[in-house]
């Protein structure tokens, strides 16, 4: 899709509006936030009849052009990342358009910077982050020292694997199944060597970094604003992800039985 040269948008206004909406949606922001931000920013640019309509897979923007005819853009959006600092920055830029009168050209430059911003932490930081997350929750669930450490290690290994998968653009559902599979498989095999391991608690802790917390929050936030379509879509995403992770874990238990010669 990238080989088709993109035609330059009619005006920097439209470019800025497209960018701000796309950044918010691609990085895990709510759909209502994308709509609101685009409309407000368009009004602050002095455009008339600004309308925006967003669903989790697309963004539609329209306003009245200088000749009186409507100018419309349709953008396909894919959820690529979970990066809330980009959403926050995009929000901040739209606010400074509103209050400090930032011009569309300036906004485009700033938004392009946000788009390529690495996030609050570099890539490899997600390994210690997954480690901390799993350790903390294993402790919360009542695991012993050894189990806490193993939960952290398993989560870090799975996170490293997911980063490898993300490189092949298979982000999403496949990653959830594989994540669940390995998160459950590793402790279930380790317990053969270390019988004192609390397998269930280790798995429960190590699975926490994969939990679809962001999709759940977005589902509630969007439904609360009356945007049922987006709320439903986020909700289904959250539930599907949870079931796929759990399904991966189920596969792991079955696999262990086969390996041990016990049959299914």
């Amino acid at each position: 899709m990238n080989h088709i040269p993109e035609r330059a948008p009619e005006s920097p206004c439209m470019e800025a509006l497209q960018l701000v909406g796309r950044i918010i949606m691609e990085n895990g922001g709510e759909t209502y936030r994308a709509e609101e931000t685009v409309t407000r920013m368009g009004n602050s640019f002095g455009l008339e009849d600004v309308e925006s309509f967003a669903v989790p897979s697309g963004l539609f923007i329209s306003y009245r052009g200088q000749d009186g005819n409507p100018v419309t853009s349709v953008k396909r959006v894919r959820r690529l990342h979970r990066n809330l600092s980009r959403v926050d920055e995009a929000n901040r830029i739209s606010r400074s358009v509103e209050t400090d009168g930032m011009t569309p050209e300036e906004a485009v430059v700033k938004l392009r910077e946000v788009e390529s911003m690495p996030g609050s932490f570099r890539g490899w930081w997600s390994l210690p982050a997954a480690f901390l997350c799993a350790c903390g929750f294993a402790a919360l669930f009542g695991a012993g020292w050894l189990s806490i450490a193993v939960a952290g290690a398993v989560a870090a290994v799975v996170q490293a694997m997911e980063m490898g998968i993300a490189r092949f653009r298979n982000f999403g559902l496949t990653a959830s199944v594989l994540g669940g599979l390995f998160t459950a498989l590793l402790p279930n095999l380790l317990v053969l060597a270390v019988p004192s391991l609390q397998t269930e608690l280790v798995v429960a802790g190590a699975i926490m970094p994969l939990v679809p917390g962001l999709a759940m929050t977005n589902a509630v936030q969007d439904s609360m604003r009356g945007d049922m379509l987006s709320g439903l879509s986020h909700g289904v995403q959250a539930i599907l992800t949870a079931f796929l992770i759990a399904g991966g874990a189920l596969l792991a238990v079955a696999l262990k039985r086969v390996l041990m010669g016990g049959g299914l």
Partner: protein, 151 residues
């Protein structure tokens, strides 16, 4: 487990675990300590409610409700998008263990136990949603009542 150990585990575990989760979704750096504290608050409310004998769904509701209130207030104070803090508020009460147990039971062909666990997990998720929603509503009322100068 003695109560003080549970409390210690609740505070440290919720804080460390949520800080890790917040880093995974790239929460802005200056928001990270606060999101950890909000997670601790919502888990402590949940834990306390359980200890004084309230049912599990009620405790979950209370936990995510207070987490959501605190999240909305901090979002306004720190001028950071609310999602950041709301995610942190719900992560400690998300039923990860319940979903895993459900699948483990189903895998052993213990359908009744599995269905039981599954329904519990679904109720928990529903209660979290309800708590978040109620928190959002109340904080909007607070904002419009007491802070009308600064909408």
């Amino acid at each position: 487990m003695p109560w003080w150990e549970e409390l210690l585990r609740a505070v440290l575990g919720a804080f460390v675990g949520t800080v890790g989760f917040a880093m995974l979704v790239h929460v802005p750096r200056r928001a990270i300590p606060v999101s950890g504290l909000i997670a601790v608050l919502s888990y402590l409310v949940y834990w306390g409610a359980l200890r004084i004998g309230l049912s599990d769904p009620t405790s979950i509701f209370l936990g995510s409700f207070f987490g959501s209130l605190a999240g909305h207030q901090s979002a306004r104070k720190m001028k950071i998008i609310g999602t950041v803090f709301l995610v942190s508020a719900i992560v400690p009460v998300v039923p990860g263990l319940g979903l895993y147990r459900m699948m483990a039971f189903l895998g052993q062909n213990r359908i009744t136990d599995g269905a039981n666990m599954g329904i519990r997990a679904m109720i928990t998720i529903g209660m979290i949603a309800l708590g978040l929603g109620a928190g959002a509503m109340i904080s909007r009322i607070i904002r419009s009542r007491f802070c009308s100068k600064n909408p």
